[in-house]
């Protein structure tokens, strides 16, 4: 049978690889750059030859634990997340290293050097070193897919969870990738009770820890996972280049372009932890000078502890940001004493991202800022982070932090007497992910804050994954809907209102009522649900009124609509000094109309 070759994004290739390797339970929480992995599994579920449960879990910890039990039962499973998602899943992840697994289990953690779409550029390989979990660092989409069957085998041989770590440039690259028939493992769920292992108390842990260390020593010497050498021609004696992940691929192309391929010993490290002791030994004996290129932290470099190493620790390689081909060129030129590359053009940032034209969050943020110009505005992770463009987002930290941070601001300010109005904004998906415990805490600690739940009925930033209150699970499957309101009420919140932010007058009236409530003697946490579907959803756009909007000659050029409201469909004509509507981008929602102080923004007559 001939293999089918398809153009696949790295994430799609990984998803297909999981199906082909007989993975039967796949759980994830969406997060750039990892999201399309689970989506690919959902879209190609028909290819699976055995039952396959796929779920968008409420958060990464839950995804990990669901996959873990599948593995305890002897089946192959995967948990998928972005790098900061592993922080959320850290608790079960760390213990799993000791307890181990039965059926093959992979945790796929997508890192984001740069970062492009994350709150930091932490390195999952270093996390794995701390957690004592083997980690694989693929150099291309095709390689990421090709390594999956072997990774499952390794997981089953040693009964350990294995991490596959792609980075943004693997996840969001496309390549010719071959598909093959999924294997049939014919396993039935068979959980073997063993409390000394699955419920291990401290009494059992020293032995489990000893076994883990013994396994790590053996894994480091597994022949299939040793660093791969492309030998040089001897013209650069006792010198080597060591690289892993996409940086290795960048280096291969660069050497080719500089006509240096096969002139210098080049090692690709497939498994940065546990690092092969034979490799470390060989580098110490055979080379005086090595250059180590890896993203983002010096994980290989620290383990090698080579006397002649040049890397992040020695300052030869930048310690932050992506190791792009241009960055590597400069590093390599310094290391090999090559001709210095031409100076790079000044980096320019281009157009900043904004909330979409018609985005309900924009209307909500504008009203919040208008009602409480001196408020403190903790916000969270999602599209609505872009509320900072409207001055209505002051802090963004990590999933769910805004509610606890809001409560923390309140506790600190109220010690000194008066407190500013604190308006927290959190998306619906983020609320379910990590907002609920924080809300309960804010209530019992008697914080006086306004929590605005921006409910757009989807996980918008990552492309519209389902949320628990819509009654839809992965792949459109119907399920029970968990409404937000009863959760809020059950958390002890004394003020709860819901409003479409497109109705600015009503929304602002409710914000003021909420402020009165938090300042009243019996006041506490006030919740306002800002409810309007995400405008990226075509059915939302179709269902709402759309009128052609224009700006008439009353415009005084005050820029309130282009700056304070910041809709990308409103542009400022620098020559005429007036605002204009970009009809290509305007969706005719009319939320900008009340913003104009001179009523120059109008609906055109039909």
């Amino acid at each position: 049978m001939s293999a089918e070759i398809k153009l696949l994004m790295g994430n799609e290739a990984i998803g297909q690889g999981l199906i082909e390797a007989g993975c039967q339970v796949a759980a994830a929480y969406p997060g750039t750059p990892s999201t399309e992995i689970l989506q690919a599994i959902i879209d190609s579920k028909d290819r699976a030859v055995e039952p396959l449960h796929v779920e968008w879990s409420v958060n990464e910890k839950i995804a990990f634990e669901v996959a873990l039990s599948a593995s305890y039962s002897g089946k192959r499973s995967v948990a998928v997340m972005k790098q900061v998602g592993l922080n959320v899943a850290a608790d079960p992840f760390m213990r799993t290293a000791y307890i181990g697994v039965k059926g093959g289990m992979l945790t796929i953690v997508a890192d984001d050097p740069g970062p492009h779409s994350s709150q930091n550029e932490q390195d999952t390989r270093l996390f794995c070193l701390q957690g004592r979990v083997p980690v694989i660092d693929p150099a291309s989409p095709a390689e990421a897919k090709a390594l999956i069957p072997a990774a499952f085998e390794l997981s089953e041989k040693y009964e350990l969870n294995i991490v596959l770590r792609p980075t943004t440039r693997i996840c969001h690259s496309r390549q010719n990738v071959s598909l093959s028939e999924p294997i049939k493992l014919e396993r039935t769920a068979d959980f073997q009770r063993n409390p000394g292992r699955w419920a291990a108390t401290p009494a059992f842990l020293p032995e489990l820890h000893r076994k883990l260390n013994d396994h790590l020593t053996k894994i480091a010497q597994e022949p299939d996972w040793q660093p791969k050498l492309t030998a040089g021609d001897g013209s650069q004696p006792r010198t080597a280049l060591v690289a892993s992940g996409i940086v290795y691929s960048n280096l291969v192309d660069l050497l080719e372009e500089l006509d240096l391929s096969n002139t210098i010993d080049l090692y690709q490290v497939l498994m940065p932890y546990p690092l092969s002791p034979n490799f470390t030994e060989k580098l110490r004996n055979d080379y005086d000078k090595i250059l180590i290129l890896e993203e983002t932290y010096p994980v290989i470099e620290l383990q090698l502890a080579h006397r002649g190493a040049a890397g992040k620790e020695t300052g030869a390689v930048p310690r932050e940001g992506e190791l792009t081909p241009d960055v590597i060129h400069q590093v390599l030129a310094n290391f090999l004493d090559l001709q210095q590359p031409a100076a790079l053009p000044d980096e320019r940032r281009g157009q900043r991202p904004s909330l979409c034209p018609g985005c309900p969050h924009r209307a909500a943020f504008y009203s919040i800022k208008k009602c409480f110009p001196k408020g403190i505005f903790p916000s969270d992770i999602g599209c609505y982070t872009l509320g900072m463009n409207l001055g209505a987002v002051n802090t963004v930290h990590c999933m769910g932090a805004c509610i606890s941070q809001g409560a923390g601001f309140y506790q600190t300010y109220q010690q000194d007497g008066d407190f500013p109005t604190i308006v927290v904004t959190i998306g619906d998906s983020t609320f379910f992910h990590a907002g609920i415990p924080a809300l309960i805490n804010a209530v019992i600690q008697q914080a006086r804050i306004i929590v605005v739940i921006l409910d757009n009925a989807t996980t918008a930033m990552t492309g519209g994954q389902p949320v628990p209150h819509m009654g839809v699970a992965a792949g459109g499957k119907k399920t029970k809907a968990i409404a937000i309101e009863p959760l809020v009420t059950a958390s002890g919140v004394g003020f709860l209102e819901t409003c479409d932010p497109y109705d600015q007058e009503q929304f602002e009236a409710l914000l003021k009522q909420a402020d009165d409530y938090i300042r009243s003697p019996e006041g506490g946490v006030a919740v306002l649900i800002s409810r309007h579907g995400c405008i990226m959803d075509p059915s939302v756009r179709k269902s709402q009124e759309s009128t052609r909007i224009s700006i008439n000659d009353k415009c005084i050029g005050c820029r309130k609509c282009t700056k304070a409201f910041e809709c990308p469909a409103l542009v400022f004509d620098e020559e005429q000094k007036v605002a204009l509507v970009d009809q290509d981008r305007c969706i005719g929602c009319g939320t900008c109309i009340p913003v104009c102080p001179v009523d120059a923004i109008v609906k055109e007559e039909k």
């Binding site: 690259s173 496309r174 790079l344 990552t462």
Partner: protein, 167 residues
């Protein structure tokens, strides 16, 4: 073996990703290796986005400064941001209303007349093929568009491509 390094530049929502896929699919259809990199996530919300496409025997999808053979720009203002990726003899194909650097076509204007400004991506592709800038021929583009476009948009997409090709 033929090698070509291409950048596609625009802002989120303009169809940069679709254009990238069409070009890469043509390489796959020819049986030659291809690698792309794309912008996803936050920047897709109307911010500057860049795709790189490397056709031929490459290991990495990223393009160094001064190495791209062709730049397809859907957003003229990105010229200042991404021009540095092009070779000095590299070809610039730009969607713009006004005259200026590179080969230009008002792709958005043409697409707007067709009733959907987002079709500018395929108008620009047609124009690039007309300029003989890309490694592929018109028929190959049409095949790839048919493979990748949702069924109900195929006709409209092909028409946009033709408008660029025959401009």
């Amino acid at each position: 073996m033929m090698k070509q390094q291409i950048i596609v530049s625009g802002i989120g929502g303009q169809g940069v990703l679709f254009l990238t896929r069409v070009i890469a699919q043509m390489a796959v259809n020819r049986g030659i290796p291809v690698l792309t990199s794309e912008t996803h996530g936050m920047a897709q919300r109307g911010g500057t986005v860049l795709s790189t496409i490397k056709v031929g025997d490459f290991a990495s999808p990223l393009i160094r400064a001064g190495q791209a053979d062709i730049g397809l720009l859907l957003w003229e203002a990105n010229l200042e941001v991404h021009k540095g990726l092009l070779k000095s003899e590299g070809k610039l194909i730009i969607s713009a209303e006004k005259d200026g650097e590179g080969e230009r076509i008002d792709a958005t204007g043409i697409a707007r007349e067709m009733g959907n400004p987002v079709l500018s991506n395929l108008v620009l592709l047609g124009f690039a093929v007309k300029q003989q800038a890309l490694f592929c021929k018109a028929e190959e583009c049409e095949t790839a568009i048919k493979q990748l476009a949702p069924q109900k948009f195929v006709e409209q997409n092909l028409e946009a491509f033709q408008k660029g090709l025959n401009s």
